[in-house]
Symmetry: C2
Subunit: 371 residues, 2 copies
């Protein structure tokens, strides 16, 4: 799959569609294993903390020049194979009129939670004009990024619903599940509306020039596979289907989703994101041969000494060979206290350790690992 | 396995060893499916909140008369099939001299985290005399409980290590994993000491009269199966082995442990606790035919209307028939806002829905579910 192939020599293509990242998403031969990091743009970078100083999160998401700069920061620093738009999954909710704010150290806080049929009307369809700042940022980024792909994203219906129903971040999702089990009619209406908003937000980004999208279902690992299939999968599939005709790869990711990898793959994305609990070779068996995989270094591993980090990176690369396509990433977002220099070394190791054949030689792996 | 059998008629035996709970743990015929709830003694009960008023948690754990009363409260209220000692997994750590407190709304906070070889000396073996208040409470409870079994418990080495290394509750266990991957030598010494303390704490409780024990590895679901096998399983096995010759059933529980049910079963307990993400029939296949299962109603389900709760209870009972033995429980602890009346109805439904054959008739199940 990743054998040497003239078409696979990207460095560095001017068309994102020829990039290693997009090729891996499509399960095509790649010149090297591509790598990016969820939350690569954000709190772990000093240049990010500086530029964000005094600017509330949602406000920052609405300033195209700031979004552009923050999105580019990790690309410059790490030489990652893809940029991901700096934004937040609640941006489209705020854009349709939900009264919410992102509270530092807490997360999204919703002024009036959504828990009844009457509340549903507050979730209007997303008007692309209401997120014109996103289109502007994506367009600006496309001009800056050249051949580096830009990933757009949205929150998946279940995860958005959890914030809206609970009124904020939740450990146990009590009210969300109470609604789901107790009133399936309202639940499905709620998730259908959120699928429309999420799908619309993905469309806006792709239409403005994003080369791929990721649907984040961060909290869906709180459900069993049966409940996922009944209450969530059709809506996640609808959100993903909104950009099915755009010709861009779609990534579908959640945390603690070992039991859900099969059904999540069925929801339609070309790539399934995997957290660190399931090795990629096992994940490949669950997601099936028609899906590329993204992941899955434990984000906590970066706090270990480099030799231990390097071993874990190599293990992920080795297990990833079982996948039909592999995009290296963390198994969840970059943790705030992460040392950016460690991420830079990981990128270097992934790029070096995975040669043009996609199978790193012992020699190159060990050279990359010298301290 | 649970077919009608004269030996299985317990109501209500005066010897805990003949109780439905202990019999189910041993995969013997039972007169009804036994049920208890993790954290059944605690914040969700008004009588608990009243009696705890103004008394710090660790202080409460050290007063045998208070421990006895709090342990009995849910037995009186719910008619559950087992009591669990009111205590905390950090009690034995405090008893060996670790400077810690349990901060309301936060959890255990450790004054000086353990992160180096030098720190290990602070983890001395547990002297049973240092937890004499636990022995006293267990003895008093045995006198009060008659035929109702008392479950003793301890925190498993990994979960205790996370609190000690992080210095308190942690979402990502960064420092714990950094130590585990970065310095396996110290890691294994740390876990061996904690296994000794946990095993010693279980011995104290069994020797004072506990009829069963549970080893709580609440956070171990943060690990992959391979890392669990390498870094954790031998130490959990050692903690469980400390009471192997005492003739009491041992339960082994963690959250998010779908990938770990097989290795956790291998660690030696007679019963494997399952969270709500994996149906019990699938869990039975993973844990093997020589293990009873405990679980696994989602604790968030109790916030749904009763009809939805009843359906979920019935599903758990139905899936539990695939297990060699089934103790009904939640998939994690009772959530603080839980309505005790709902738990009382769940107990009634489990007891009614599971007849003397262990296979509830449709009629009895639906009668129990009226209103």
């Amino acid at each position: 799959m990743r054998s040497a192939d003239p078409r696979s020599v990207d460095p560095r293509s001017v068309d994102p569609r020829d990039s290693a990242f997009i090729r891996a998403c499509r399960r095509e031969p790649v010149p090297h294993i591509p790598v990016w990091f969820m939350r690569q743009a954000g709190r772990s970078l000093p240049e990010y903390r500086k530029i964000r100083e005094g600017i509330p999160m949602l406000e920052a998401c609405r300033r195209p020049e700031l979004v552009t700069e923050i999105t580019l920061q990790p690309v410059r620093r790490y030489q990652v194979d893809a940029a991901i738009l700096f934004s937040d999954i609640v941006v489209p909710l705020a854009a349709v009129g939900v009264d919410l704010e992102i509270v530092p150290g807490v997360g999204p806080v919703v002024a009036r939670p959504i828990r009844s049929a009457a509340d549903l009307d507050r979730l209007r369809p997303l008007d692309p004009a209401a997120v014109g700042y996103v289109s502007a940022a994506v367009a600006a980024l496309r001009a800056e990024l050249g051949g580096t792909p830009l990933i757009g994203f949205a929150g998946a219906p279940f995860t958005l619903a959890s914030y809206l129903v609970e009124g904020g971040p939740s450990r146990h999702h009590e009210r969300t599940k109470a609604l789901m089990y107790g009133d399936p009619g309202i639940w499905h209406q709620l998730l259908a509306r959120l699928a429309g908003i999420a799908g619309g937000f993905l469309q806006v980004q792709v239409d403005a020039g994003a080369s791929a999208v990721q649907l984040f279902d961060s909290w869906v690992g709180a459900l069993s596979a049966a409940d996922y299939a009944t209450f969530v999968a059709p809506h996640s599939a609808a959100a993903l289907a909104a950009v099915a005709d755009r010709g861009v790869p779609r990534i579908h990711f959640g945390v603690g989703t070992g039991e859900l990898l099969g059904p999540m793959a069925e929801a339609g994305a070309e790539v399934v994101g995997v957290d660190w609990r399931v090795p990629l070779d096992q994940a490949a068996a669950r997601a099936g041969p028609r899906r590329a995989l993204q992941g899955n270094l434990d984000p906590a591993v970066v706090f270990a000494p480099w030799d231990a980090v390097a071993r874990q990176v190599d293990q992920v690369l080795a297990a990833g060979r079982a996948a039909a396509g592999h995009i290296f990433n963390l198994g969840h977002g970059v943790l705030p206290d992460t040392d950016p220099d460690v991420l830079a070394r990981i990128v270097e190791r992934v790029h070096t350790g995975s040669g043009s054949t996609g199978r790193p030689s012992a020699a190159s792996a060990s050279a990359a690992g010298s301290t």
